[in-house]
C-alpha cells in the first residue's frame, strides 16, 4: 500500500521528466536502498520516516536535511 504511494508519485509526468526517472527505475523503487536517484531517495525517505516510522514533522525534516550535503 505504501509502496504504491512511492510509485504513484514517481509516475508524475512533470517530476519524472525533470529528473529522468525511467519506468525501470519506478518498478525497482522501494522504501530502502539502493536508490537509483536522489529524488527517489528523498521521496522514499520522507515516506518511510513519516508514514512507516511515524516520526514527527521536525524529525522527518532533519533526516532529510542530511541527504543533501
Amino acid at each position: 500500500m505504501i509502496n504504491n504511494l512511492l510509485e504513484e508519485v514517481l509516475r508524475d509526468k512533470v517530476l519524472s521528466s525533470k529528473y529522468n526517472i525511467t519506468e525501470e527505475m519506478i518498478n525497482k523503487a522501494k522504501l530502502a536502498p539502493p536508490y537509483e536517484n536522489k529524488v527517489i531517495e528523498y521521496l522514499a525517505m520522507i515516506i518511510k520516516s513519516k508514514m512507516v516510522d511515524m516520526h514527527g514533522d521536525i524529525t522527518v525534516y532533519n533526516q532529510i536535511k542530511n541527504l543533501i550535503k
Binding site: 505504501i2 504513484e8 543533501i68
Partner: protein, 730 residues
C-alpha cells in the same frame, strides 16, 4: 483470504422457532440462495445479520431500524412466548460461523426473556423480563476441533471487521429498497467514503502535507542563509516579504475555500431534501386541512356525548323526563282513587252540614247556577237567561235572581267555615303539580331506550370520525420523508427551499472564485520564487538550492498525484460500473444507457445516467434504476485492487425486477463476491412441485449456485403458532 460464512443459526428468533439445531443454514462459497414467499422469514433472516453487525433490527411496522435492546419482546418467537408458562425463561439467539484461511470464528448474540404473568401480552414489554447476554466470540484453528472463547474486546472488533470491513459494510449488507439509498444519485457525497477508503486517499493527503512542510522548511533554511549573508540586497529581502504576504493570503484563501465547500455540501443536502418535501408539501397541507376539519367535528360530538352522559341522572327529576316515577303507576292510580273518594266524602259532609243548619238561609247552589257576573248582568238587564224570560225590576223573578247573587257571595264566605282544614286545593295542587311526571310514566322505558340509542349513535359517529382521522393521518404519513413533520407549511418549505438554493448558488460561485484566486496566488508565488532564485547571491551554497528544488518539486508532484489517483479511481469506477451494468441487464430486451461519474465543484462525485447521445435519461423503469445502483455498488467492490474479500448479504433487492434481471444479477454477483447469500421470494412458486418457478429451476441446475434453501411456513397456522421450516434443496 476471503471470509466465508459457514452457517447461521437462530433460536426463537422471530418466526424461527425452536433450538439452534432446528434453524441452521449451512453455506459455502459462491452463490447461496434462500427462497421464501412473503412472510416466510426473509427479512427476519436478514435481521439476524443486522443484529450481529449493528445490534439493530428493522421494525416491520415503521420500516425503520431500531436498537435491539428495546425490541427484545417483539423479536422473540410468538410461538415460544405463547407456549411458555409463567416464570419460564426463553432463550433467543443468533449464531454465525465464518472462516478465513486459518481460523473458524463463532459469533453469538442473544438474550433471555421471562414471562412475568400468565396472560402476558405477546408484544407488551412490561409483561416480560429481559436479560441480554454479552457478545460471545470464539475461534478454532481450522486444523483443530475445539473452539476457544475470545475475551479481548479489541480482538472482538477485529474479528467482526474481518467478517465485513466496516467502511464497506453497507455495500455488502443491504436490504430491499435500502439499496437505493446507498448510492443516492441525488446525493453528492454518497460514494465519497467508499472511494476514499478504496484509494487510501488519506495517505496521499498526508504525503501532500509532509512534502509541503519539508519544502517550506527548506525554503526557510535557504532564506535564513541568504539573509545572514551581508551581500544580500535590499531588493531580495523585499521580494521575500512580498512572497511571504502572498503566502499568507494563500493560507487564508484556502481556509475560505474550505468554508465555501462546507456551505456547498450543507446547502446541497438541504436543497435535495427540500425538493423532495416541496412536492409533497401541497398534498400534505390538504390532508392537514381535512384532519383539522374532522377533529373539529370530533370535538363537538365528544362534547355532546359528555353532556348526554353526565346529565343522565338529571333525567330522574327533570320535568321533561321524570324517570324517578318509573314503576309508580299503582301509586298514581291509588292517589287518584283516594282523591275521588275524598271529594265524594267531602261533598256528602258538606250536604249534611248545610242541611243541619236550618237557620241558615244559605242553600247549596245547584251545580249549573250562573256565575256572579252573569247574575249581575241579568239583574241589570232585567232578563233571565236561564228561562229566557223577562225579569223586570222588583218582580218575583228579578228578586229571585238578586237573592241568588247575594247567596253566591255569602255562600263563598260561608264555605270556609265548613271544614277546620279545607285541603281540597292541597290535594288538587299536588295532582296538578305532579302532572308532568304522571303523564310521562308510561313512556319512561321508551325514554330510557331512546337515551341509550342516542348514546350509542353518538359513540358510533365518534368512532367513525376517529377512524377517518386515522386513515387520513396514515395516508398523510406516506408523504413524509424522515422526521420532516415539523415543517407545517407549504409556504415555509418553499421559503426554505429558495433560501437554500440561493446559498447553494453563492457557495458554488464562491468556490470558483476562491479557486481562481488560489491558482493565481500560486502562480504569482511561483514567479516570485523563480525571481528570488535569480536574485540569490552567488556564494550561496548549492546544496540549499538543490534541497529547495527537490523539496518543492516533490511537494508539487504529491499534489498532482493525489488528484490523479482520485480522478483515476473515478474513471475506473465508471468503467467497472458500466461493465457490471451491461452484464446485469444483458438478459433484458431493452438496452440500457451509460453511467457517468463526474467531479463536482466540491470535489465529490456526481452520477449521471446518459443515453448514447449523452443526454440524461429520466424515467427509466424501476428495474433499470435498481440495476444502476447495483452496478455502481458492484463497481465499488470489484475495483478493489486486492480483490473483494467479504461476502454479500442481501435481502430481496430484486422485487421490482423481471426474471431477466434476476438471472443477470446472480451471474454477475458470482463474479464480484467470493460468497453471496441472497434472500429472495421471486423464485417461489406455490403450485410447482419443488416450489420453484422456471428461473428457480434453472438456477437449481446452474453450477455457480452452490446452495439453495427453501423456507416454508406450515399452512393454516394462527399467528401465535407460526414457525418457519427450511429445507436444503441443493
Amino acid at each position: 483470504m476471503a471470509s466465508i460464512i459457514n452457517q447461521i443459526s437462530f433460536q426463537n428468533f422471530f418466526n424461527y422457532f425452536g433450538s439452534l439445531e432446528d434453524n441452521t443454514y449451512e453455506f459455502s462459497e459462491g452463490v447461496n440462495i434462500v427462497v421464501a414467499d412473503n412472510g416466510g422469514g426473509k427479512s427476519k433472516f436478514f435481521n439476524g445479520f443486522l443484529w450481529i453487525f449493528y445490534d439493530e433490527i428493522l421494525d416491520s411496522d415503521t420500516k425503520t431500524r431500531k436498537n435491539i435492546k428495546n425490541q427484545a419482546v417483539k423479536v422473540c418467537s410468538d410461538k415460544a412466548k405463547n407456549e411458555a408458562a409463567v416464570n419460564d425463561l426463553i432463550e433467543c439467539n443468533v449464531v454465525l460461523e465464518f472462516s478465513d484461511n486459518r481460523f473458524r470464528y463463532r459469533i453469538c448474540k442473544g438474550f433471555r426473556i421471562r414471562k412475568s404473568k400468565s396472560d402476558s401480552s405477546l408484544t407488551e414489554s412490561s409483561d416480560w423480563q429481559v436479560f441480554f447476554k454479552d457478545l460471545e466470540i470464539s475461534k478454532r484453528d481450522l486444523q483443530l476441533l475445539e473452539f476457544h472463547e475470545v475475551y479481548d474486546d479489541e480482538e472482538h472488533k477485529r474479528i467482526l471487521n474481518k467478517l465485513i470491513q466496516p467502511n464497506l459494510r453497507e455495500y455488502s449488507l443491504f436490504q430491499g429498497e435500502e439499496v437505493d439509498k446507498l448510492i443516492d444519485f441525488n446525493q453528492a457525497d454518497s460514494l465519497n467514503r467508499a472511494v476514499k477508503s478504496l484509494t487510501n486517499i488519506n495517505k496521499y493527503d498526508e504525503l501532500e502535507k509532509i512534502t509541503k512542510y519539508v519544502a517550506d522548511r527548506a525554503e526557510k533554511d535557504m532564506n535564513d542563509r541568504v539573509a545572514s549573508n551581508d551581500a544580500a540586497s535590499q531588493n531580495y529581502r523585499e521580494k521575500l516579504d512580498e512572497k511571504e504576504t502572498k503566502r499568507n493570503s494563500l493560507e487564508s484563501e484556502i481556509e475560505k475555500l474550505e468554508s465555501y465547500e462546507h456551505s456547498y455540501t450543507e446547502n446541497k443536502g438541504e436543497v435535495d431534501k427540500l425538493e423532495g418535501l416541496n412536492e409533497n408539501a401541497e398534498a400534505r397541507k390538504e390532508f392537514d386541512d381535512k384532519i383539522k376539519d374532522q377533529n373539529g367535528k370530533l370535538k363537538a360530538l365528544k362534547e355532546e356525548y359528555d353532556r348526554l352522559v353526565e346529565k343522565l341522572n338529571e333525567r330522574f327529576f327533570d320535568g321533561g323526563f321524570g324517570w324517578i316515577a318509573m314503576g309508580c303507576e299503582k301509586g298514581v292510580s291509588s292517589f287518584k282513587e283516594k282523591l275521588n273518594k275524598y271529594r265524594e266524602v267531602r261533598t256528602i259532609k258538606k250536604v249534611s252540614i248545610l242541611s243541619d243548619d236550618s237557620n241558615n238561609q244559605i242553600n247549596l247552589l245547584p251545580p249549573d247556577s250562573p256565575d256572579s257576573v252573569t247574575l249581575q248582568t241579568m239583574v241589570e238587564r232585567e232578563h233571565c237567561y236561564v228561562c229566557n224570560r223577562e225579569a223586570k225590576e222588583d218582580t218575583e223573578p228579578w228578586k229571585h235572581i238578586v237573592s241568588l247573587l247575594n247567596r253566591k257571595e255569602l255562600g263563598q264566605n260561608k264555605s270556609v267555615q265548613m271544614f277546620k282544614n279545607d285541603l281540597n286545593d292541597f290535594f288538587g295542587d299536588i295532582q296538578l303539580g305532579a302532572q308532568s311526571y304522571v303523564g310521562r310514566i308510561g313512556g319512561i322505558q321508551q325514554s330510557i331506550l331512546r337515551t341509550r340509542e342516542k348514546e350509542q349513535e353518538l359513540l358510533e359517529r365518534i368512532t367513525r370520525i376517529k377512524d377517518k382521522v386515522k386513515n387520513l393521518k396514515d395516508e398523510r404519513s406516506y408523504l413524509i420523508i424522515g422526521d420532516e413533520d415539523d415543517m407545517a407549511d407549504a409556504r415555509q418549505i418553499m421559503g426554505q427551499y429558495k433560501g437554500a438554493l440561493t446559498r447553494l448558488q453563492k457557495a458554488e460561485d464562491d468556490i470558483v472564485k476562491a479557486k481562481n484566486r488560489i491558482a493565481s496566488l500560486n502562480e504569482s508565488i511561483r514567479k516570485d520564487e523563480n525571481e528570488l532564485g535569480r536574485m540569490r547571491p552567488e556564494d550561496t551554497p548549492k546544496e540549499y538550492e538543490l534541497h529547495l528544488d527537490i523539496a518543492s518539486d516533490l511537494r508539487d508532484a504529491a499534489q498532482r498525484t493525489r488528484i490523479r489517483v482520485f480522478d483515476g479511481m473515478i474513471l475506473k469506477l465508471e468503467k467497472e460500473a458500466n461493465q457490471h451494468f451491461q452484464n446485469l441487464i444483458k438478459y433484458n430486451e431493452l438496452a440500457g444507457g451509460i453511467l457517468r461519474f463526474k467531479k463536482n465543484p466540491r470535489g465529490t462525485i456526481d452520477f449521471k445516467y446518459l443515453d448514447e447521445e449523452g443526454n440524461e435519461v429520466t424515467g427509466a423503469s424501476e428495474g433499470f434504476q435498481r440495476m444502476k445502483v447495483l452496478a455502481v455498488l458492484m463497481a465499488v467492490i470489484s475495483v478493489n485492487p486486492y480483490g473483494y474479500l467479504y461476502p454479500l448479504l442481501a435481502d430481496a433487492p430484486l422485487s421490482a425486477f423481471g426474471q431477466g434481471f434476476i438471472k443477470g444479477f446472480f451471474e454477475e454477483t458470482d463474479k464480484v463476491f467470493p460468497q453471496s447469500i441472497i434472500l429472495i421470494k421471486d423464485l417461489y412458486d406455490r403450485d410447482s412441485e419443488n416450489k420453484l418457478n422456471k428461473l428457480g429451476g434453472e438456477l437449481l441446475k446452474d453450477a455457480s449456485v452452490s446452495t439453495i434453501y427453501l423456507n416454508q411456513i406450515p399452512k393454516d397456522l394462527k399467528q401465535i403458532e407460526v414457525y418457519t421450516e427450511h429445507k436444503k434443496i441443493k
